[in-house]
């Protein structure tokens, strides 16, 4: 139980309440700067024209969708390896956020696809693997909802989360392994980025901004989950407290 003492609900709540506003504030400011750059200073693409501006939303969302899942996988290890209740809370809080970001990535992607490939959707490796990521997110959310008992829910979803982690490398490298319409990595490459600085910097700033907002959301969700669990625990306790008039009856059952 030793490890529990570091991240107990009290500490986590206090910390979260302290840092949350900063994440939100800085995040919004950074985003403002980044989006300004994206829509006003950054040039339109010579072949893609104005549609290129979708990139500043699409790419960060894609990155965060994958980051959220990676964090869930880490939490899963925390649950199975260290039996740390707070890991459950973190993982449960991440699922809907990750799902949302993935959804936005899909939507912006297909919005972008219409002008670029003149179709909303193609079944190529990148797009598909992201869609699968989305489905896995939904499955995991369903699991969280489906199980009444928090401890069991934590363990089960942790296992599934880890199984689902195979998908991450597939998403990342699908563009290299299979022939796809989707373009290969142009920012995170061993040989350095291959897009103009004029586009790269706004993109990175947006990415940072969204990341800060992402963490704000994560903390907020964790707080809610903590409250939810506290309430559930209270209800379970209350449920077993014998009402006065029953104490007169012969003792037939444990509390």
């Amino acid at each position: 139980m030793g490890i529990l003492d570091y991240a107990n609900p009290t500490r986590v709540l206090r910390f979260s309440r302290a840092v949350k506003p900063w994440f939100l504030g800085l995040g919004l400011i950074t985003l403002a700067v980044g989006l300004y750059g994206a829509f006003f200073t950054a040039p339109a693409d010579y072949q893609q024209g104005e549609t290129i501006r979708i990139m500043y939303l699409h790419v960060p969302m894609a990155w965060l969708a994958m980051m959220a899942y990676s964090m869930m996988a880490l939490s899963a290890i925390g649950t199975l390896g260290f039996k740390h209740p707070m890991a459950d809370v973190s993982a449960k809080a991440l699922a809907p956020i990750g799902a949302t970001f993935t959804a936005i990535c899909l939507i912006t992607g297909s919005l972008w696809g219409k002008p670029m490939w003149n179709t909303w959707w193609v079944w190529d490796a990148r797009l598909t693997s992201v869609l699968i990521l989305f489905l896995v997110y939904l499955g995991i959310i369903a699991l969280w909802q489906a199980i009444e008992e928090p401890i069991k829910a934590g363990k089960v979803t942790a296992i599934i989360t880890l199984v689902g982690a195979i998908n991450l490398p597939i998403i990342k490298f699908s563009v290299d392994w299979w022939y796809t319409l989707h373009q290969p990595a142009s920012v995170f490459r061993v040989d350095g980025p291959t897009i103009y600085p004029a586009m790269l910097y706004p993109l990175l700033i947006c990415a940072v901004g969204f990341t800060l907002v992402f963490f704000y959301l994560h903390f907020a969700a964790m707080e809610n989950e903590l409250k939810r669990r506290r309430i559930r625990a209270m209800q379970m306790r209350a449920a077993r407290r014998v009402a006065p008039e029953q104490t007169t009856l012969p003792q037939g059952s444990t509390a």
Partner: protein, 222 residues
């Protein structure tokens, strides 16, 4: 009568909590739709051509699989016997169960159809027709499945046996449903005849299904 409503309410309630039919049913539907393009390949023309068929098969499977446990869970926990301790005939009980199942599992499925159709690149008219046919056709499947579900509890067998006995009968529904949808896409052939047939089938199956399921349940475990 209030018993009737109470039963429906309970089952919808059980279905709409996540993990019970409602959400998972639609997710399964989604999963099937998503799986199929992999098999068939990313050719969108082909997809939009076989799209309606795929959606219908997806709906069919989602309904039948979900239905397997229509009576099973009540059997497992002993509730089935208790539910028969009323003066109203078993068929009422069957109807209530089916209605509840349709509301809890098929209705959501119909509602998401327009969305999923986009994945298969269906055009608006097709989407409209598809949704309409599903709305009218799925009740037929539910009542049909009820017979299978009744078999499943009476014979203590799993989903598959039931699916095997039920699938043949579900083929007409499928044909009319898909035919109507196609008709809506390809102007020449008319939409209404197959649609009317579909509606008729639904009504007939409602009667046969109810009676069949009720009779099967009464046999019990002899």
């Amino acid at each position: 009568m209030s018993a009737f409503r109470a039963l429906i309410a309970r089952d919808v309630r059980l279905a709409t909590r996540v993990g019970g039919g409602a959400l998972t049913g639609t997710l399964f539907f989604l999963a099937v739709i998503v799986t199929i393009p992999f098999g068939v390949g990313p050719d969108l023309n082909l997809l939009s051509r076989i799209g309606p068929a795929i959606m219908w098969i997806g709906a069919l499977l989602a309904t039948l699989i979900g239905l397997e446990r229509l009576f099973q869970s009540d059997k497992d926990d002993g509730a089935l016997d208790l539910l028969r301790l009323t003066d109203s005939p078993v068929s009422n009980f069957v109807i209530a169960k089916v209605i509840a199942h349709w509301l809890g599992s098929s209705l959501p499925l119909v509602l998401v159809t327009p969305l999923l159709s986009l994945l298969l690149a269906l055009e608006p008219r097709a989407i409209l027709a598809l949704t309409a046919t599903l709305a009218v056709g799925t009740p037929a499947l539910s009542f049909l499945g009820a017979v299978g579900a009744a078999l499943a509890v009476t014979l203590r067998r799993g989903a598959l046996l039931m699916a095997v006995i039920i699938l043949p009968f579900s083929i007409p529904v499928l044909i009319f449903g898909v035919a109507a949808t196609r008709a809506a896409i390809v102007d020449p052939d008319p939409f209404w005849p197959p649609f009317a047939l579909l509606t008729a089938t639904s009504l007939i199956y409602a009667v046969i299904g109810t009676l069949g399921a009720a009779a099967t349940l009464k046999i019990g475990d002899g």
